[in-house]
């Protein structure tokens, strides 16, 4: 964990209620599948947001406005200074991916798939990506994933764009060696049921600290209790207890 001050460079709406925020600051030690915990003026607890993309000195987050905290984030403008805890969580393990990993992101679970896709590609792997949304207006980052060279499928629940249905309706179209997924819990359960290989799941829980001190986010796994913020947010298919 590190405590760093970041400066906001861009904050723009890229889809319905969905914002992309680019920050400059020290990104040392950040890895795909990890998250940052953001302090916001006027809010007691920090807000956990996944790392979407990063390079030396630059960090990109994508967040959906769902309440007062994310609403406040969407009102921040260029030059705003933000206090972040970075390098939180275990992140994805790319070692077991095989040559053709499948990345499945749903809604606010899409962002961490981007940094992961980049990392896998840099290791010479050829990921396929399924992005699931409710409707056409919520779709984001399809072009960005394609630009990386990843085979990209988009599903919408109402059929207004791409494949009609859920991410699981696109899973039959891809042959994959392993999978990685992040999204709402019902989606994670469906992916768990449908998947034919091993894989990794990223979970959410309400957090007090985000760095392992308060036991506010504990879940049970087959290998004992785990703190989503510290021993997660990524759990393997084998250890999950629904």
């Amino acid at each position: 964990m590190r405590n760093e001050i970041f400066t906001l460079r861009f904050n723009r709406e890229i889809a319905k209620n969905t914002f992309e925020m680019t920050l400059s600051g020290d990104t040392a030690g950040i890895a795909p599948g990890q998250f940052v915990n953001i302090r916001l003026d006027g809010f007691y607890l920090r807000r956990p947001i996944s790392v979407c993309d990063y390079s030396e000195g630059s960090l990109t987050l994508i967040y959906k406005v769902v309440g007062h905290g994310t609403e406040h984030m969407s009102s921040l403008t260029r030059g705003a200074r933000l206090d972040l805890l970075t390098g939180l969580g275990n992140g994805y393990d790319t070692a077991p991916s095989g040559l053709r990993p499948l990345l499945i992101g749903g809604g606010a679970g899409v962002p961490p798939m981007y940094a992961l896709a980049k990392a896998l590609i840099s290791e010479g792997k050829m990921p396929a990506v399924i992005l699931g949304f409710n409707s056409a207006g919520e779709v984001f980052y399809e072009e960005e994933f394609r630009a990386l060279g990843a085979d990209t499928y988009v599903t919408t629940a109402d059929g207004s764009y791409g494949i009609r249905g859920f991410v699981t309706d696109a899973m039959d179209r891809v042959r994959y060696t392993y999978f990685y997924t992040c999204g709402p819990e019902p989606m994670l359960r469906a992916v768990y049921g449908k998947s034919v290989t091993s894989g990794q799941f990223s979970f959410e829980e309400r957090m007090g600290c985000g760095f392992g001190a308060c036991m506010g986010c504990t879940c049970r796994t087959k290998y004992g209790n785990k703190r989503i913020c510290k021993d997660g947010p990524v759990l393997t298919k084998e250890e999950i207890v629904w």
């Binding site: 405590n3 302090r39 007691y44 600290c209 392992g212 001190a213």
Partner: protein
Amino acid sequence: MVNTQVTLSGLTLDNPVIPASGTFGYGYEFAEIYDINCLGSFSFKGTTREPRFGNPPPRIAETASGMLNAVGLQNPGIDKVIGEELPKLRRVFHKPVVANISGFSVEEYAECCGRIDREEGVGIIEVNISCPNVHCGGMSFGTSPESAAEVTRAVKAVTSKPVYMKLSPNVTDIAAIARACEDAGADGISLINTLMGMRIDLKRRAPVIKNTTGGLSGPAVFPVALRMVWQVYNAVKIPIIGMGGVTTAEDVIEMMLAGATAVEVGAANLVDPLASKKIVEELPRVMERLNIENLTDIIGGAHNG
């Protein structure tokens, strides 16, 4: 040079700043980002005889200037705490720690306290009779003078280290309970634990916390905590560790003026992992500004004003 030292039942601390139980784990997460030996001491996570998973999630909710938690005493149990956590903890923290103990029966309190009493690195035993998040235990011992005294007597009978009884604010007469603990032999009083509260999710029309209620802490509770420290100071002669919403060095001074000899810092560590360190560093500057030479001189100082 100002003097920040304080003494709790013969144990001298470099400063009165002690991270509160449940908000500092066993110290490791914080040791990653600063040398926690700058602290006066710290109180580790509440320990019970058996390992406990605690309550189902969600366990946390945000409030105005604070938070609710319903962790429910998740801990690995006394065997693992003594066998694994304490040896590990000693590698990152070299001063005596405060051992926070909880229980579901008088016998369990006595058994755990008796065992922790033999641990070299433990300076003070803090007996939590005030956890609002567990049923049939915890807080139920801290809500009547009789049961608080019963636990105190049972623990004192099996320990040689100073015993501090940690009290609940969810009572009508805190002074009576503190007095009962003192009469039963307690060496000091710790207060306050969290105040019982709740939040409702408007969209789901259901409590945010799965356990329905949780314990409120953070700056929202500071004035309540301060008032209770004040009342207990008037009621007993034994030292008080004051806590509840402490966030700054000024808050530490205020708690001490109300009657605390040392101060615990809880929720502040969760939102700013450097909070306790910053308080330790600020304290001498604030003392100079307020013309305080010896911190011990101000304990209960507001009672004469």
